[in-house]
């Protein structure tokens, strides 16, 4: 085998191997969403389990995450539309410097609570793999859907999920 065909074989096998092993999802759905208590940028603490009876979007974001900056204004619109019929959105920020979160929240005019998790303990609890990640929690406190990232596909998915869960 020539050197180059050995290299080609090596590359091709690696591609095949990586394709097969690429399924590394975390299955957390349909279990109770882990409870947490976090301080909000506005001051008061917020505890997830006290929001039973409402559909809650737990969104993990950071000021240094580009897709997060596209997602937050969308969540703001969603919140204003559905908050009076039972939707809650918690924007859990994981910046090491909490004041960055408050500044960006104010700059974007966010109306939903911005919670601060600078130590990353809540992110660890939810086994966050990437930023942003949003967990959709039903009225009974169970975790129903997970959104990894934010792209053009997500708004219609959120609409459908929220409609269905608000009806429960």
């Amino acid at each position: 085998m020539t050197m180059l065909s050995r290299t080609g074989f090596f590359t091709a096998s690696l591609i095949a191997l990586l394709t097969i092993t690429s399924f590394a999802g975390i299955d957390q759905e349909n279990k109770n969403a882990p409870d947490f208590t976090l301080k909000s940028s506005g001051g008061p603490n917020v505890k997830l389990s006290e929001l039973r009876g409402r559909v809650v979007l737990v969104n993990f974001w950071a000021t240094w995450c580009t897709p997060c900056k596209n997602e937050l204004p969308y969540f703001n619109t969603l919140y204003q539309r559905y908050r009076n019929v039972g939707l809650e959105i918690l924007g859990v920020n994981i910046d090491k410097v909490p004041s960055h979160a408050s500044q960006m929240g104010a700059a974007l005019g966010l109306s939903f609570p911005v919670l601060l998790d600078p130590s990353g303990k809540t992110s660890d609890l939810y086994r966050i793999r990437s930023m942003p990640t949003t967990f959709v929690v039903a009225k009974d406190g169970t975790l129903r859907h997970v959104h990894w990232g934010f792209g053009p596909d997500d708004p219609p998915r959120y609409e459908a999920e929220i409609h269905a869960l608000l009806k429960e």
Binding site: M3, R6, T7, F10, F60, A62, W64, C65, T66, P67, C68, I94, D95, K96, D117, G120, S123, D124, I128, R129, S130, M131, P132, W148, G149, F150, G151
Partner: protein
């Protein structure tokens, strides 16, 4: 041509993964790595042009094709 140390690539792979302790940085700790100045070729057009000039002037080539690091966002 000289014997190709193709095993060198495997060694580098193993050493790096071991040295990194696999998951040294949590996804919510990537603030520094997300910064543009921590990317190896942050401005695509400029990096392309420099590589192009080197290809025109030099007899050797290749190797600067990787990606990785970054904010870990989707």
């Amino acid at each position: 041509m000289r014997r190709v140390p193709i095993g060198l690539l495997w060694v580098m792979l193993i050493v790096l993964v071991s040295a990194g302790g696999c998951a040294a940085v949590k996804p919510w700790e990537r603030e520094y790595l997300a910064d543009k100045i921590m990317q190896f070729d942050p401005d695509t057009l400029r990096a392309e042009w420099h590589l192009h000039v080197q290809d025109v002037l030099e007899g050797d080539r290749g190797g600067f094709n990787g990606s990785g690091g970054g904010c870990g966002c989707r």
